[in-house]
Amino acid sequence: MGSAYLAAIALVFTLVSNPVSAEDDAAHHPTWSQLTEDQQKVLNPLAKEWDTLRPWQRERMLEIAHDYPKMEPDRQKRVQERLTRWSRMTPYERENARKKHEKYQNLSDAEKKELRKKWREYQSLPESKREQLRKQSPEIYDNDDIDN
């Protein structure tokens, strides 16, 4: 009876597991020339530096290319404009941005609108004023947040 359970469990894991082979590795971390035409089109801002990106960075960028077609044209435009800056952020910065974006998504439409208004106002401030505000900011993130 025990062997029957073991056989069932082995069968399940054989069916659902995704063993990483050399081919899979190449598929997840392709060089620029190995990308499809559609992927190159989306990730074009990164063309020059793609082959220098680390495997996990490429994986993340490929996820972006995968989600890109689901987006509205204005969003797609913003993605391409921000892609290079995003790729140069540290993992810590990216993770913090993800967390705060998640919180932003949970805001009401009115709150989001208000926050966008404040961002425009903040951007209109002189750089010296913004620098002063940065210095006045308490440390926002706890050590627990630094998990990268």
Binding site: V16, E63, M89, Q105, R130, S137, I140
Partner: protein, 131 residues
């Protein structure tokens, strides 16, 4: 001219008429012959099934025998297997980012990633919200 079928029907009719008149000894001999024929047929079936028990047929037979002997435990195995499949599938689906949670949607948001990282902006929001 009679056909073969018509002749056969006549013979059957005559036999049926006479069958009630058979004596006990004849009936016993007929019963004994029938049992011999049935036993011979059963032996031949066993020989045929033994010959087909090699290869895949053997595996299927063993599987069938297993199910037969464990017919109480088999539903439990099936339920456990289904539960494991459901659990693993749920875990895998949970790992997938939802449609609005990928980095692409962060980059495409109305606010740029810098807005989420600029500590000065946080201070600005806190200060202007207090006013």
């Amino acid at each position: 001219m009679k056909t073969e079928q018509e002749t056969a029907k006549e013979i059957i009719g005559m036999l049926d008429e006479r069958v009630t008149q058979l004596d006990r000894g004849v009936l016993d001999r007929l019963y004994s012959a029938r049992m011999k024929a049935v036993n011979r047929l059963a032996e031949r079936k066993q020989e045929v099934s033994a010959q087909s028990s090699d290869g895949f047929g053997h595996v299927l037979r063993m599987f069938g025998d297993y199910l037969h002997h464990h017919r109480i435990a088999t539903p439990a195995v099936i339920i456990c297997t289904a539960a494991i499949v459901a659990f693993v599938a749920t875990q895998q689906l949970a790992d997938q980012p939802s449609i609005e949670q990928g980095d692409a949607f962060l980059l495409g948001a109305e606010l740029p990633p810098e807005a989420f990282l600029d500590k000065g902006f946080d201070t600005w929001v806190a200060r202007t919200s207090q006013q």
